[in-house]
Symmetry: C2
């Protein structure tokens, strides 16, 4: 669904976005892929050398990513890949829950039978994957399920905000620590969302969608805290000292 622009500027993007845009996508890729690790400084010179362009476009791209929330700007020191602490993750989850709920709410009042069936098929696919305990199969369908709902709302601003949030969430790379019964739990909630949409009641659709993400948050934190027995995430994990 989300377009993953390859490392090499893919023809069209170069004509469309004219360097600055290409650079932006490339830096985004470097961040989300983890090549630029969390908390590290993004060296303008290094990037411009690596991509064979001047520093101007690199700076523009960085400013855009700062606005998007993936980078953090400290004047005269540079931009740093944003570090997410527990509070940040909680914020992202809460906001994502709200937007997901809104999407469900908006869609409930105008979804068609054909669209319902399309979603039902996705839920069935996820059921299959959940029964097999196959996270690798489950995950992309899960993504598609939520993306379809989002797109069907037709609210471009909602879509943009949500996708930005997903990217920010990826900074906190903690996938794969989901238990196999969590898959079944998660898909049961998908079924609830589907039923709510089918009922055409915005309030119910909101509730079902909102709760799904909030439960996801709880599942994630539970799994995470179990993994790091020593203690939960530090509240302030050594930001590159913003102020002396």
């Amino acid at each position: 669904m989300t377009d993953l622009t390859a490392a090499i500027p893919t023809i069209a993007q170069l004509r469309e976005n004219s360097l600055s845009g290409v650079v932006r996508h490339e830096i985004e890729r470097l961040i989300l892929s983890g090549e630029l690790p969390t908390g590290s400084r993004v060296n303008e010179n290094a990037i411009s050398l690596r991509l064979g362009v001047s520093r101007g476009p690199v700076r523009e791209a960085c400013r855009a990513l700062v606005e998007l929330g993936l980078l953090r700007l400290i004047p005269n020191r540079g931009v740093f890949v944003r570090r997410m602490d527990r509070h940040d993750v909680e914020e992202v989850y809460d906001l994502r829950a709200g937007l997901t709920g809104l999407a469900g709410s908006l869609l409930a009042s105008k979804i068609t039978d054909a669209e319902i069936e399309r979603l039902r098929a996705l839920v069935a696919d996820m059921d299959e994957a959940a029964d097999a305990g196959d996270f690798r199969q489950f995950y992309p369908v899960n993504l598609e399920f939520h993306d379809v709902i989002l797109q069907l709302t037709g609210n471009s601003r909602l879509i943009k905000n949500y996708q930005a949030l997903v990217k920010e969430f990826q900074l906190f790379r903690t996938h794969g620590l989901v238990q196999s019964d969590a898959l079944k739990e998660s898909n049961a909630e998908h079924r609830a969302i589907l039923a709510a949409l089918d009922s055409r009641d915005p309030a119910i659709a909101y509730q079902a969608s909102f709760r799904h993400v909030q439960h996801g948050k709880q599942r994630m934190f539970a799994a995470f805290d179990k993994l790091t027995q020593a203690g939960p995430l530090p509240a302030e994990p050594a930001e590159p000292r913003p102020i002396e």
Copy 2:
């Protein structure tokens, strides 16, 4: 609440944000004040000359504002002050309703008695203004009421997203066409939000907050359509042709 930076770079901002930030705020001011009219092109040269800086910082500022949604970028043509059609306004209202609802929902589970009282005082102030039919007195308190709720959630991303949305909404300058009975209606809804928060029930607080904005949307469109008898807003009002 929101810091209105004056036209002249106000000392601190200059040290803090180093030109690019100052320029960004100044362009933002030009847009929101209407000096740069909706749909018009933002000439990099003109801005840089006017502010006495080079084009670099101006470009950076513009890219940031594009990301924020106030400007629209067309490659090799420049950036244009975003034009809002009816669909855009509807999108903004819907998203704003969702975020407002989320704020209410999040706050309901943790609001203190003192905070409730603070909000109650604001509602009382608005009652007074509504009785007098004084929109000029009503408006800033209304703004504060919603801003307080937003801030008390403590979710910085929610706050940022909401405030960006408010700025975008200001592009569609249609204040003052509110009838005096709409004030009373609006404040009745404020009272409902307050009661919902007081009940500490997130679901009810969501509903009350969400509905308030949706009713605001209806009030606005009703007033607007009455004003422009000829017909509602055009669906695509002569964008500077994005594609030939």
